[in-house]
């Protein structure tokens, strides 16, 4: 078991998503530290993939920019190791199954343990295929995070029962990206999750404003924000860290009920 639970111990968790290497790794490091300073409880680090099928245009763009800049899995491992000297909050990787598989799953997941990565989020690895990496995740104490979607219906209990770390509840249909409204009946999904899971549940996809974050964290145990942060990085490039920092502050301040 990892340290993920610590992110949820002080109340509602705020979880920013950052694409590693967008626009470069030095900036990624600064953004991570700015996020920590401004109250982030857990950080989701994206390892870019050439064809991110679960992402909307904003995060697709970030993946592409990072890859064009020459980012690799090894370079990301190195920056995380460096960050771990002072960043103590839990961190997880978000990437695609092929990035883990092609690196050699054993080597990838054991490196996660070595650099104190607490969990893995793989949007193209559903419940039915989790055995691909789960034995190695157990071996090295890295939580394989389960996702639950508005279409999961009868699958919710099954997934929740075996979930580790935390549950990533997808707020709406489709891919990542900002939404003006979130219409899914999330309360009833969270109810089934809570009846079955022994880990917390955070909501992501489409959250961009403090009001949305407060509402989503109110329903669940935390809010995940990706595209809104990536948009700031896209706008300010290498100077993005303080802007991301103040954005995260506006979100975390409002999260307390």
């Amino acid at each position: 078991m990892s340290n993920i639970i610590k992110a949820f111990e002080k109340g509602k968790a705020f979880i920013p998503f950052i694409t590693c290497g967008d626009p470069d790794l030095e900036t990624t490091g600064k953004i991570v530290r700015a996020a920590v300073e401004n109250g982030a409880d857990l950080i989701e680090l994206g390892i870019p993939f050439s064809d991110p099928t679960a992402e909307g245009p904003v995060i697709q763009g970030a993946n592409l920019r990072a890859l064009k800049g020459g980012i690799t899995t090894d370079k990301i491992f190195a920056i995380v190791k460096e960050l771990r000297k002072d960043v103590k909050i839990p961190m997880v990787f978000m990437t695609y199954a092929n990035v883990v598989f092609s690196y050699g799953a054993d080597k990838f997941i054991s490196t996660c343990r070595d650099i104190e990565i607490d969990g893995l989020i793989l949007p193209d690895l559903p419940f039915e295929e989790k055995e691909e990496f789960l034995p190695l995740c157990h071996k090295y104490g890295v939580d394989l995070i389960s996702l639950i979607a508005p279409t999961s219906e009868k699958r919710i209990a099954m997934i929740a029962r075996e979930a580790e770390g935390f549950i990533y509840l997808v707020s709406s249909l489709g891919v990542t990206g900002m939404r003006s409204e979130i219409n899914t009946d999330l309360e009833s999904i969270v109810k089934v999750i809570r009846e079955n899971a022994h880990v917390p549940c955070a909501i992501g996809f489409g959250i961009s404003t403090p009001e949305q974050a407060r509402k989503m964290a109110g329903i669940s145990d935390g809010a995940i924000v990706g595209s809104a942060i990536i948009k700031i990085v896209e706008q300010y490039g290498k100077d993005a860290a303080p802007y991301v920092g103040s954005y995260i502050k506006s979100m975390t301040e409002n999260l307390v009920l």
Binding site: S50, D74, D124, P126, A149, V170
Partner: protein
């Protein structure tokens, strides 16, 4: 142990977002029900025969046989199907299935445009809404097919992400499916993607090898010695191979697009240059770099310009049951022109890859041997691009 569902050896599986899991489960359930339903099969057979024009001919290419001076060559004429390619076989099956499932909207990816045209056709016939995703690069290479799809009432969305080719069209169709599931069926065009697609598409395409077998027994009283087909995702190839897999005497040969050569980066020959990976819902072989980033593949043929191969082909390769050979742009264009001049048949540039390999193989075989080449589609759509390849600028 990985999940055994939808596996071909170690390949296949269901590596897709949770949002789509119930949709593929629902599809699997419906397919398991209807595949053995006499009423469904009767309707499908009627569509294939009366509408698509099956069975397609198995034509003895006498001039080509004599010219090459070796094995006897037969052409399986999938180019004569309605809409001009084998794609209609699968699309009529899936559209009928989708209709039975209560879906009112079909979405599809397309490379060369043949699958998009077939899907738009089926949607028009069955009164369904249709949206086709096509790489922007391919909309330029295959402008005629874009027009055909629009004429048939489909909306064509040019995909600008990534390499703006087939793989990006697949990604965008998958994204669209996660956005809108309840009324939409994703009519996948090849034997790829998550289970149950590789099985469904293979079953609907297996009519090709079923017919080849019957026709060959009738014409020659025996099975062929080799069956040759081009492979992108691999649907016409698996359709051509399937009913021969247990006939060990029949050599099965898939022709991959080598582009400018397998020793260059401008290639799409997955089995020759790729390695095992997980992408687009399946475990199989993919062209990728050492960090698992999918390679920007290239082929003159938009329909073979894909960095992966269907999981059943990957398994046939692992088992040594089928072999996969690379064919370059140059070889394919030569074969395109050769078949036109020799037999008066203009093949799709995709199919020309299979013709090209047969041209190398046939002379090395005895005259009492028999080769079947699947001509998966007609080449009208390619004429402008081949003219450009030869330095001639024609306007359609």
């Amino acid at each position: 142990m990985t999940n055994p569902k939808g596996r071909f050896g170690i390949h296949g599986g269901q590596y897709i977002p949770e949002t789509l899991m119930n949709a593929v489960n629902e599809l699997e359930e419906a397919y398991d029900h209807y595949k053995n339903d006499p009423e469904f099969n009767k309707e499908l057979t009627e569509l294939l025969n009366e509408y698509a024009g099956r069975p397609s001919r198995l034509y003895y290419a006498e001039k080509m046989t004599k010219d090459l001076g070796g094995a006897k060559i037969y052409l399986k004429r999938e180019d004569l199907n309605h809409t001009g390619a084998h794609k209609i076989n699968n699309v009529l099956g899936q559209a009928l299935l989708a209709k039975k499932m209560g879906k009112t909207r079909l979405i599809a990816e397309t490379g060369a445009g043949q699958h998009g045209v077939a899907t738009a056709t089926a949607a028009a016939l069955m009164g369904m809404e249709c949206v086709v995703f096509m790489g922007e690069e391919d909309t330029k290479r295959q402008a005629l097919n874009v027009y055909r799809m629009r004429l048939l009432g489909a909306e064509v969305i040019p995909v600008k992400t990534g390499t703006a080719t087939l793989k990006d069209a697949v990604s965008e169709a998958m994204r669209e499916w996660t956005r809108r599931i309840s009324d939409t069926h994703y009519c996948l065009g090849s034997v790829m993607g998550p289970h149950p697609f590789p099985t469904i598409v293979r079953d609907f395409q297996a009519v090709i090898s079923k017919e080849i077998k019957e026709q060959m027994l009738e014409k020659e009283g025996r099975l062929p010695d080799a069956v040759i087909a081009c492979v992108g995702g691999g649907s016409n190839a698996i359709g051509s191979f399937y009913n021969f897999i247990n006939d060990e005497s029949v050599e099965l040969i898939g022709c991959e697009a080598a582009g400018r050569g397998i020793d260059t980066f401008e290639t799409a020959a997955t089995i020759s240059t790729g390695k095992l990976g997980i992408f687009h819902g399946m475990k199989s072989y993919f062209c990728q770099d050492k960090y698992g980033q999918i390679a920007p593949v290239y082929s003159i043929s938009a329909g073979l310009d894909y960095p992966g191969v269907g999981p059943e082909h990957a398994d046939l390769y692992d088992r040594g049951r089928a072999k996969y050979v690379p064919v370059t742009d140059d070889e394919a264009v030569n074969a395109f022109e050769y078949l036109a001049k020799t037999e008066g048949i203009i093949p799709a540039i995709e199919s020309a890859h299979a013709v090209a390999y047969a041209m190398k193989l046939a002379p090395s075989m005895d005259k009492d041997k028999i080769i079947v080449i699947t001509v998966s589609g007609r080449g009208d759509k390619d004429c402008a691009a081949i003219a450009r390849y030869r330095g001639e600028d024609i306007h359609e």
